[in-house]
Amino acid sequence: MSLARRLVFGSNPRRTAVRILILTAVSFGTFRWILIPVRTQGISMQPTYESDHLTFVNRLAFVWRPPARGDIVAIRLAGPHVVYVKRIVGLPGERLEIVEGQVLIDALPLAEPYVRNRRPWDVPEVTLEKGEYFVIGDNRGMRVGDHDFGRVDAARILGRILF
C-alpha cells in the first residue's frame, strides 16, 4: 500500500471506516442533544459575553442538580434554535425586587461582581413560585425597556452555558 493511501485510509481501511462512522455518530449526537452550539447576539450579557461569542449549552447540567443562582443558562423560545442567554438571580420561593439598580433577594442586596455599569432600574417585588426562576442579563447599563428579563419556568431552561 502506498504511503499516501496509508495516510488517508490507515493500515486497515475497514477499521478506519468503522472509526469514522462511530466518530461521526458520536459527534452528531453530542452536538445535537448534549452540547448545543450557540452564538450570542446583542449586548445584554456584556461584559461577560460580547456579541458573536460562540459557546455551548450543556443540556445535562441540570440533570443531577437544579439551576443555581449565578448560573448562565439558555432559555428556549418556541424551540431550541433561538435561545435567550441570561443569568439566574432569583430562585423558586424567593422574593425579588430591583431598587435603584440593586437586586434585592428577600430584602437583602445581592452581590453581583459581574455587573459593571448599573442604571437605576426599579422593578416591583415579585415572589417566585415553585419551578420559577428570575433571570437577567449582566448588562445593567442598558435602558430597562431595552433589556429582556423576568420570571421564567424551569421547563424553558435548556441547560447551562459552558464557558
Binding site: L77, G79, F149, G150, V152
Partner: protein
C-alpha cells in the same frame, strides 16, 4: 369470509384511513409552512422605493386577513386591521436602511378539520436605522392563528408570547 379475513380487512381499511389522514394533514401543514416561508421572502425582498414599495406592501398584505389583530403584549395597544398593519410596516421600512426577518422553530397544529391552524414560532429580526452603523437584533416568540379561505392560508391573529414575564 372467515373472521381472520374480516379482521385483516378492517385493519387494512384503518391503516389506509390513517395513512390518508397523515398524508393530508402533512400536506396542509406543509402548505402553512410554505406560506410563512413566502411571507419571509416577501418581507426580506429589497425594493428601490417608489412604486415598488407599494407593490411590496400590497403583496405582504395578502398574507393577512382583513381583520387581522396583532397583540404585542401589555405595553402596546393591539394593531387591528390589514391596512393599519401594512401602513405601519411600510413606514418602518422607509426609516430603516436594512431589515431582515427569520422564522425558526415553526410548529403547526391544524384545527377545525384543517380550516384553521395554530402556529408557534420564533421571529428574529435584524434592522439598521437609516444613518446608523450598528444593527440591532431582536428575537421573540409568537403564537399565530391562521385560517384558510379559498385555498389560501392567511394570518388572522399574531400574539406575542411572554417568554420572560
Amino acid at each position: 369470509m372467515t373472521p381472520f379475513a374480516r379482521v385483516g380487512g378492517a385493519v387494512l381499511v384503518a391503516l389506509c384511513v390513517g395513512v390518508g389522514w397523515h398524508r393530508w394533514s402533512a400536506s396542509e401543514e406543509r402548505a402553512v409552512r410554505q406560506r410563512l416561508d413566502a411571507l419571509t421572502d416577501a418581507v426580506n425582498t429589497t425594493v428601490s422605493g417608489g412604486m415598488e414599495t407599494f407593490v411590496q406592501a400590497a403583496d405582504i398584505g395578502g398574507y393577512f386577513t382583513e381583520d387581522v389583530v396583532v397583540d404585542l403584549g401589555k405595553d402596546a395597544a393591539p394593531i387591528v386591521g390589514r391596512a393599519t398593519l401594512v401602513g405601519m410596516a411600510s413606514r418602518l421600512r422607509r426609516r430603516t436602511a436594512a431589515f431582515r426577518l427569520r422564522l425558526d422553530d415553526v410548529g403547526v397544529r391544524l384545527r377545525e378539520e384543517g380550516a384553521a391552524a395554530e402556529v408557534t414560532l420564533t421571529a428574529s429580526s435584524m434592522l439598521r436605522d437609516a444613518g446608523a452603523a450598528a444593527e440591532s437584533t431582536d428575537a421573540r416568540e409568537y403564537l399565530l392563528e391562521m385560517s384558510k379561505a379559498s385555498g389560501t392560508w392567511r394570518i388572522s391573529r399574531i400574539t406575542a408570547v411572554d417568554t420572560l414575564r
